[in-house]
């Protein structure tokens, strides 16, 4: 099981916190995504007004348990979630749970094939990303744009 928290340690005060959740049961792909996300916000972090809190999980059932037991809150800026999470769990379960506990996070749904798009009609997601070679970078791009729009930082660049 993987449950790590990466906090960008720069002086924490007065900074906007970007909280990102990654749920992907394949450890390799999980690392890949986490890395791409970290890289995509690095230029923003470098400017000093933001800090990134990145939580990644490979075990979705563990995460659901933690949410239900209120061990974790689900206040995220963005959620990157694989559709098939193993053990019969899919992204729909997790997102439903997240939406129940507030959270106006941007939801990016990932899957290997486009066919999931049709299945996932019931899951409210913002973007769908096919797991091709551009997928990690595309996730980073979505996050970047979402943060820029949310905090309208692009204006003074």
């Amino acid at each position: 099981m993987l449950d790590k928290v990466q906090v960008n340690k720069k002086n924490i005060t007065m900074k906007k916190t970007i909280k990102v959740l990654v749920i992907e049961d394949n450890e390799y792909y999980n690392n890949l995504l986490s890395n791409a996300i970290q890289q995509s916000v690095n230029p923003m972090l470098a400017k000093g007004n933001y800090q990134l809190v990145l939580r990644s999980f490979t075990d979705a059932s563990e995460y659901i348990r933690k949410i239900k037991s209120k061990e974790l809150n689900c206040d995220y800026t963005a959620v990157f979630i694989d559709y098939y999470l193993g053990e019969g769990i899919n992204a729909g379960h997790v997102i439903k749970l997240l939406k129940e506990h507030s959270s106006d996070a941007m939801v990016v749904l990932l899957s290997k094939s486009n066919s999931v798009r049709a299945k996932s009609d019931l899951v409210p997601y913002d973007y769908f990303v096919v797991k091709d070679k551009f997928a990690p970078a595309l996730c980073g791009l979505y996050l970047q744009q979402y943060i820029e729009n949310k905090y309208s930082v692009s204006l003074d660049q």
Binding site: N26, Y84, K131, K133
Partner: protein, 803 residues
């Protein structure tokens, strides 16, 4: 509104308070100094008085000495009977008399002492009387003595009768008469008796004198002791007074010190409070500043957004009208369309004005520097207003001094804008008259000139009182002007700002109802004729060499896409339209295009980000697919940003067919047709390793080899585990689970370019999902494990190479 006023008051009051307290402190200090000085000097003066010898005591001493001396003189005289010896007595007497009266005058302020001195004076007088009596007695004594001598002589017989004096003659009646002699003797006895009496009396007098003088001495001592007592008392009183003064000044000092301390505390308190308040104000001020800056930013954003929002539909109106004009309908419709076109163009101009104005106000307008032909601009402007002038029955003319350089280096668009604004004003306000523009130049240095433009009209003119407000923002000479002639009132203000931005000057002369003359003077550099961009007169016919190209258009506005569709259809291009960046990326993953038109502002992922992604992640280079940015905003300030994102050319909305074509030609100008359909991106970058393509991973790592290594290890362990699970599931005939597992481990395989392994896994998944039971899953799973063996060996080799 009380805010600033209050602050001002408070500021004043703190100054007043501190000033007042300072003055108080100075007063306190000077009072302290003064009191100290006074008390000290009074102490010093009392000491000084004590030091001066007591004059009265001296007088008393002198008097008693004199009395003694006088007594002595009397005594000496009584013994010697020498008149010379009595002389000092009189001197002493008169001295004593003087000194007594002097003493009396010295003691005049003390009644007790005065009475004492009077007593002493009386005693001295008595003394003198006694002395005088003594002197008289002593003189009598002398007579008696003489008499005694005489009687002795008489007794010792008259052996020497001749030697008789006056007294002898008086007393000797006859020498020979014994009876007489006897009588005389009896007389003498009498006299002796008398003499004895006298002597007794003298003794009494002397006794009296002795008593007197002892009394005088006693009195003197009494007086002296009294005086000394008094003096002592006086000294004591002075000492007490001095100590009192000292105590008083001490208490004063303590009080003043306390007051000073309190004052200091008060001042410190006030200053601290002031500083604290000042700090609060400073914070408030900073907040207000931030707020204001934020507001300005918001305003800018709002202006940009609004102008964009307004421009977009107007662009569509203008563009489609232009398209309709091409489809030559009947004349009536055409003229209506022309009106629509000119109106929408006019509306665009107004929006531009407002946008320019807000940029000018924030000093955000950047000037271009290109070579341009002056006569061309003049011709354009003239053509633009010729018709309008004719409608007003006004003659519009211009004259360009042949001495003026034909080509200048500067910002033609802004120069044109100045001319347009001024001439449109002149034309607007001139009926049945003339509008004339005269352009001359003054040579300053070899390549520098001042361009002089004189705009003169015979219009309604401007009242002299309004001349100085005419250049202000949103101002028109008359309130009624807007109603009558329209306009935003920004024209002249923009002109002035534009002229000043180009370091020029503008002068206005006008008289009501007699016309207006405006003289602009703007410095320019002489340009090069060869470098003038000739974008006029290009026919809207598509050159053959670009007709085969494929174009992808990304724009979120439907009418823009339609406009593109219309134009590109007519030009017979192959093209595809995408609504947003994400769609464009999806399309580009599958297909290749020769040219991309990208709207800059789009919801979701904007054009900049999309282009950046295309260039950096998808590795589609500028030569493979140039990108033309489309935006309603002018490009000036964002050019660098655009270029960085991967832009090759810029097309401003609203665009005409010519502009579109010239943009296409600009980016494909250096390309031959053979370039267009050339296939493939050949990737020979590091990371490509036989059956693997680690390029993606390397790219993602940002040069962090440790990360690559870690990812590769992670790939091996997760994939190995997955494959084992897959084998197990297949063996147990849990096909759904096998499909899921296979689904799960495919993306990493694809990511590191292990395509054989990926294909195998994909085949397993598909076969299961399609319920195609023909294949042997076990064989496929085994094959996958064999393939994984190859991949993992390659990866291990790679890792070995890395370290």
């Amino acid at each position: 509104m009380s805010g600033p006023f209050n602050k001002h008051l408070k500021r004043n009051s703190i100054q007043l308070k501190i000033g007042f307290l300072m003055i108080l402190a100075v007063i306190l200090l000077s009072a302290t100094c003064y009191l100290l000085y006074r008390n000290l000097s009074s102490i010093v003066s009392s000491i000084r008085i004590d030091e001066t010898p007591e004059l009265r005591l001296l007088s008393i001493r002198e008097i008693s000495t004199d009395i003694e001396k006088a007594g002595n003189s009397v005594r000496i005289y009584t013994i010697t009977k020498n008149p010379a010896d009595i002389e000092p007595y009189y001197a002493f007497i008169s001295n004593i008399d003087k000194k007594v009266s002097k003493l009396q005058s010295e003691c005049s302020n003390d009644s007790v002492l005065l009475a004492q001195t009077f007593t002493i004076g009386n005693l001295i007088e008595q003394n003198i009387l006694i002395w005088n009596k003594l002197l008289v007695l002593s003189r009598d004594n002398n007579v008696i003595g003489n008499l005694r001598q005489l009687s002795v002589q008489l007794d010792s017989v008259s052996a020497t009768p001749r030697k008789q004096g006056i007294l002898k003659r008086v007393f000797s009646l006859s020498p020979d008469t014994i009876s007489i002699k006897k009588g005389i003797a009896a007389d003498l006895e009498d006299i002796v008796e008398q003499n004895q009496e006298k002597r007794d009396e003298l003794a009494v007098q002397e006794l009296q004198l002795a008593k007197n003088s002892s009394e005088i001495t006693g009195r003197f001592y009494d007086l002296i002791s009294k005086m000394e007592n008094e003096l002592n008392e006086d000294i004591q009183a002075k000492a007490t007074a001095a100590s009192e003064v000292a105590a008083k000044s001490y208490s004063w000092l303590v009080m003043l010190a306390i007051a000073g301390g309190l004052l200091a505390i008060l001042v410190i308190y006030i200053i601290i409070r002031y500083a604290r308040n000042a700090y609060t104000y400073q914070i408030a001020l900073e907040n207000a500043k931030d707020e204001a800056e934020k507001l300005v930013k918001t305003k800018e954003l709002f202006m940009a957004n609004m102008s964009h929002e307004i421009r977009t539909p107007v662009t569509a109106i203008s563009g489609f009208t232009e398209q309709l004009l091409h489809e030559s309908l009947n004349d009536d419709t055409n003229s209506s369309l022309k009106v629509i076109k000119s109106s929408s163009d006019h509306l665009l101009k107004i929006i531009d004005d407002i946008l320019d104005f807000s940029k000018l106000q924030n000093n955000k307008l950047a000037l271009e520097k290109v070579h341009f032909s002056l006569s061309q601009i003049l011709g354009d402007v003239h053509a633009m207003f010729e018709k309008q002038a004719q409608q007003n029955n006004t003659n519009l003319s211009y004259w360009l001094d042949p001495e003026t350089p034909k080509v200048l280096l500067g910002d033609p668009y802004r120069l044109k804008q100045i001319m347009i604004n001024l001439i449109s004003n002149s034309v607007k306000f001139t009926k049945n008259g003339s509008v004339h523009l005269e352009v001359t130049s003054i040579k300053k240095k070899a390549e520098e000139i001042d361009l002089l433009m004189e705009f003169s009209d015979t219009g309604i003119g401007i009242d002299e009182s309004k001349l100085n407000v005419i250049f202000e923002d949103f101002t028109q000479a008359e309130m009624s002007t807007t109603r009558k002639y329209g306009g935003t009132g920004l024209g002249l203000s923009i002109v002035k700002k534009l002229v000043e931005l180009q370091r020029g000057t503008i002068d206005l002369k006008s008289k009501k109802n007699q016309g207006t003359t405006i003289v602009c003077r703007i410095p320019f550099i002489t340009g090069d004729e060869k470098l003038v961009k000739k974008d006029i007169g290009r026919p809207v016919s598509v050159p053959d060499e670009i007709s085969g190209m494929t174009i992808l258009v990304v724009d979120d506005e439907e009418y823009n896409r339609c406009l593109f569709k219309k134009i590109l259809d007519r030009w017979k291009f192959k093209f595809r339209l995408a609504e947003n960046g994400i769609e464009a990326l999806e399309v580009l993953k599958e297909e290749k295009y020769d040219l991309l038109f990208m709207d800059v502002r789009m919801p979701g992922i904007d054009g900049l980000k999309t282009t950046q992604f295309i260039r950096e992640e998808m590795k589609i280079s500028e030569s493979d697919m140039p990108v033309v940015f489309i935006s309603a905003a002018s490009m000036n300030e964002d050019l660098e940003k655009y270029k960085k994102a991967g832009m090759n050319a810029f097309l401003q909305k609203p665009f005409t067919e010519e502009m579109l074509l010239s943009a296409i030609l600009e980016v494909t100008g250096n390309k031959s047709e053979s370039d267009f359909n050339e296939a493939g991106i050949i990737n020979n970058k590091p990371g490509r390793d036989g059956n693997l393509d680690l390029h993606n991973l390397y790219h993602l790592s940002g040069g962090d080899e440790e990360f690559v290594k870690q990812m590769l290890f992670s790939f091996i362990t997760t994939t190995e585990k997955g494959l084992n699970e897959l084998k197990e599931a297949v063996t147990k005939q849990q096909l759904e689970s096998a499909a899921d597992i296979s689904h799960k481990i495919q993306p990493p395989c694809r990511h590191i370019g292990a395509m054989d392994l990926y294909n195998l896994l994909n085949k397993i998944e598909r076969t299961i999902r399609n319920h195609d039971s023909t294949g042997s899953f076990e064989t496929l799973a085994d094959n996958a494990q064999v393939e994984f063996g190859i991949v993992s060996r390659l990866i291990n080799d790679h890792i070995a190479k890395m370290s």
